[in-house]
């Protein structure tokens, strides 16, 4: 028996008409009205800040920084698109249309159209920002108009590369690695730019060169787009389903204001794609510490990023000193967070802790060691680098980093134990409208423990030479704070880790 494919366009129109019948009259127009009003109000409120981001009064970045921005943007956009799909369907469409006898190409073309619009818009905005920060002024009008178009076309080229990689060719993994390298190279460029006095762009680019680049890119986009559309039907079902789940999880996360949905999805996918070999846990270490070390050993790429991020505080060398200090403190918390996936599991569901029969105090004490090690190494390296580059006054900054280790680890563990966002908290009425305090409270749990690093923060903010007395004060505060955290939020007669300690 031969089944004739159903006309997908007719089917989609029928679905839209039926959905529209169930909505109240004018609901769609109302939604559009509120969206436009929201953009207008926010745009009006933030236009100065947006101008600083996209088109400062005077170009303020070097050519090196501009190149770094482009590299990081290309790598970042490719990776973001790969994580999103980029081709996907809504969850209902994935359930009902993917298995229906409809043209796969017609099913996926709207998704490609939407993704191209998104990537083009992102590329154009990014292009405007790069040009605004780097290009010499005054700029010929034609060039000013063409450069965002170059950005948009480049965004679409990156999207089409991601679409090709979605079909699962052997080079997909290599392309991801290349994108990671571009992102890393871009970040390295920023760091180098902040250290050396890189030259500014002195003359605007020739208009003919920009026009030729635009034309060449447009041609590439047309050819690649034609190839992509003809090959759309070959996109494997599992990749489309995965993208549909990603889109669904992101929507759930946004509507529920619950970022942990996304964290869990990313974590689950990471491990699902890894091939592991069982090893013995280190016998000389406490069992949960050994487990944390094993987890860290199995995340080499994350460790590499954390190691590379040691250089990022140097980007803030010219920012207010307290901003630099806060960024350093926050960085140690993120470094300590590499191994806290196990704490998150136990905080979310204590079944394994009950099976292990360990009390919460032993569990948290054992779980603190690896984050302390990671945070200590990160703080010491970051502060030593700032010191070596002359961004800090004289003193034993590496020692202050080690003294800060418990601060980063307590903050990381506290963040991992925060659990779900508490949406049951009473909403607050503000002049800007009703505000749900749940997400705010949840985002503060963890970073609030960084207050234990106050002696270091004050020291960096004041800009005085660092003395061993300050290091000692910080060490004492860190250790007392960590001990107070453990004894105040755990108990020897309780297994469960409380959701919000």
């Amino acid at each position: 028996m031969t089944i004739q494919p159903t006309d997908f366009g007719t089917l989609r129109r029928w679905v839209r008409r039926t959905q529209s019948d169930h909505r109240e009259r004018g609901a769609t127009a109302g939604n559009i009205y509120f969206a436009v009003l929201f953009i207008a109000v926010v745009g009006g409120m933030l236009h100065r800040q947006l101008a600083v981001i996209f088109w400062p009064v005077h170009p303020n970045a070097s050519e090196l920084a501009g190149s770094a921005l482009v590299l990081a943007g290309v790598g970042g956009l490719f990776l973001a698109l790969r994580r999103l799909g980029p081709l996907g369907l809504s969850r209902p469409a994935a359930s009902w249309f993917l298995t229906a006898p409809v043209s796969r190409r017609r099913l996926l073309v709207p998704s490609l159209r939407l993704a191209a619009a998104g990537a083009g818009l992102a590329g154009a905005l990014y292009g405007v920002a790069v040009v605004g920060h780097v290009a010499d002024r005054p700029m010929p009008a034609a060039e000013g108009a063409l450069l965002p178009v170059v950005g948009a076309l480049l965004g679409i080229v990156i999207l089409l590369a991601a679409v090709a990689a979605q079909s699962g060719p052997a080079w997909g993994g290599w392309a991801d690695n290349l994108a990671y390298l571009l992102l890393a190279a871009g970040l390295t460029g920023f760091v180098v730019d902040s250290v050396i006095d890189a030259p500014r762009a002195t003359a605007s680019w020739p208009t003919t060169a920009v026009a030729a680049t635009t034309a060449a890119l447009a041609l590439v986009v047309i050819v690649l787009l034609a190839i992509a559309v003809t090959r759309l039907a070959g996109t494997p079902n599992d990749r489309i389903l995965e993208a549909a789940k990603t889109a669904g999880t992101l929507l759930d996360s946004a509507f529920g204001v619950e970022p942990s949905f996304v964290t869990e999805m990313v974590e689950r996918r990471y491990w699902a794609n890894r091939r592991l070999r069982s090893v013995r846990l280190w016998r000389r270490l406490p069992v949960l510490t050994a487990q944390d070390l094993l987890l860290v050993r199995r995340r080499p790429r994350r460790l590499l990023w954390i190691a590379g991020a040691v250089a990022l505080p140097t980007l803030l060398a010219h920012a207010p000193a307290w901003v630099l200090a806060a960024a350093v403190l926050l960085g140690g918390m993120l470094a300590g967070g590499v191994s806290t996936g196990n704490v998150r599991t136990d905080a979310g569901n204590p079944v394994m802790l009950r099976l292990l029969g360990l009390d919460s105090r032993s569990a948290i004490t054992q779980r603190l060691w690896v984050p302390t090690l990671l945070a200590g190494l990160w703080y010491a390296a970051a502060l030593a680098l700032l010191d070596a580059l002359g961004d800090l006054p004289a003193g034993p900054w590496w020692a202050l980093g080690i003294a800060l280790a418990p601060v980063g680890s307590v903050a990381a563990i506290r963040k991992a134990r925060a659990g779900f966002v508490r949406n049951e908290l009473l909403p607050l009425d503000t002049p800007m409208g009703t505000l749900s305090p749940g997400p705010l409270v949840n985002s503060v749990v963890g970073p609030d423990a960084l207050l234990l690093g106050l002696p270091a923060l004050v020291e960096i903010a004041q800009g005085h030479p660092l003395s061993w007395t300050t290091v000692l004060v910080q060490a004492v505060v860190s250790v007392i704070g960590a001990r107070a955290y453990v004894s105040g939020t755990t108990a020897t007669d309780r297994v469960e880790l409380a959701a919000i300690p």
Binding site: R274, R275, Q291, L294, R298, N342, N349, L355, G357, V495
Partner: protein
């Protein structure tokens, strides 16, 4: 105390909204005995086991596990092992490493505790390097049982352990449970399979009989 039972519950009442699930339920399981509670779906077997495991608070009633109130203390969870709740698996830890972690947390040497033999017995030897979320539901059920049986305990509370197991798997698990009881452990489980329950060395009792004024499980 010699006469002290492993499980001693009386006058248990639990209702979900206006629907009563447990009405004046009593159960007594002596130390070293095996009891299997049977009954149709929705009659309250899982609710009873959850109450006895301290995972749910009854509306009324008295529960004593080895003479003490069940709670969330580490002492309680070192005595009691249960599969009433499915575990959330640790990220990036293989099947074998989960078993080793549980053994080492209880001070056991994984080799002496028989990790490899347990994985072999539960048909998981070929999946030792897999992460638990990638296993089928039946394999996850067997891994949970393996973890529960590998670690030392005095009381096993199992909710339908035969579910999602094939014929051979049921025979293997039943033999292990029978050995557990023979070694002095106390077994309390809910099941729909009378043959499995008898092979596990458990005495069968119905939920209806537990609700009777004189209802006892042993």
């Amino acid at each position: 105390m010699v006469d002290q039972p492993a499980v001693d519950a009386s006058g248990l009442y639990v209702s979900y909204g206006s629907t009563p699930v447990l009405v004046d339920v009593a159960l007594r399981v002596p130390i070293g005995a095996g009891v299997c509670v049977t009954g149709e779906n929705g009659i309250g077997k899982s609710t009873l086991l959850r109450c006895l495991s301290s995972l749910q608070r009854p509306d009324q009633g008295k529960i004593r596990i080895f003479g003490r109130s069940p709670g969330s203390t580490p002492e309680f969870w070192r005595q009691v092992a249960t599969t009433v709740e499915p575990p959330t698996w640790y990220p990036g830890l293989t099947v074998r490493e989960h078993t080793e972690l549980v053994c080492r947390a209880h001070g056991q040497d994984p080799d002496e505790a028989g990790v490899d033999a347990a994985l072999e017995g539960f048909g998981l030897a070929g999946h030792a390097d897999a992460i638990p979320p990638s296993l089928s539901s039946g394999q996850k059920q067997r891994l949970t049982l393996a973890l529960t049986l590998l670690r030392p305990s005095s009381l096993l509370i199992l909710d339908e352990p035969e579910q999602r197991l094939d014929h051979q798997g049921r025979a293997t698990v039943a033999a292990m449970l029978s050995q557990y009881v023979a070694d002095g452990g106390t077994l309390l489980m809910a099941s729909h399979d009378d043959v499995f329950a008898e092979a596990s060395g458990a005495e069968i009792t119905t939920m209806e009989s537990l609700a009777a004024p004189a209802g006892t499980g042993s």
